[in-house]
Symmetry: C2
Subunit: 106 residues, 2 copies
């Protein structure tokens, strides 16, 4: 039972993983497809995808011998919730966004 908030922040901390998330906003991709866009081995990309899965930021659907990686924007909820600590500095607008997203992803 690891901390989901920590896993999500950890996943976001690496630029390659943020790039992968960026790619997945356009289309779902297999590991091979993602790896094809980076100058690193498929194994390295696989590790990043595992970290992203642990952080709840992507989901994986097995289709035959392929694994389709799909963005899971709901996984950002813990991150955005944490930003609530800055409400005092932002006139409660961040909190408004958070509840809007929660309503949106249910």
């Amino acid at each position: 039972m690891t901390d989901q908030t920590q896993n999500a922040f950890r996943a976001l901390a690496d630029p390659t993983r943020r790039d992968i998330l960026h790619m997945l906003t356009t289309q779902d991709m297999t590991i091979g497809q993602v790896a094809g866009r980076f100058d690193m081995t498929r194994a390295a990309v696989k590790k990043h995808l595992t970290v992203l899965t642990d952080g709840g930021l992507i989901t994986v659907e097995t289709r035959g011998r392929e694994r389709i990686n799909r963005l899971n924007p709901t996984g950002l909820a813990p991150v955005l919730s944490w930003f609530d600590i800055f409400d005092h500095f932002w006139d409660d607008r961040l909190s408004d966004l958070k509840s809007a997203i929660e309503k949106d992803t249910q």
Copy 2:
């Protein structure tokens, strides 16, 4: 000219540093004050504060022999800007928040 976005995400990736930011939402604190709340050496806390400074999330004001650490919510702008890549999933509300914050902190 290091990447400010990366530095900010990196700074947020550690739970101790997020706790420090949380503390600083209540009041400005010296290094000694921050260290007094953690079960680790002052040197370790100092390292975290340096990472937070590099990430632009806090500012430091020297007052005599003390260094007052102060929250810098503006430093989160690069992070929130990055979240814009999820606009398609969130009906542009994250983007609205970002511009609201930018206007607020100018």
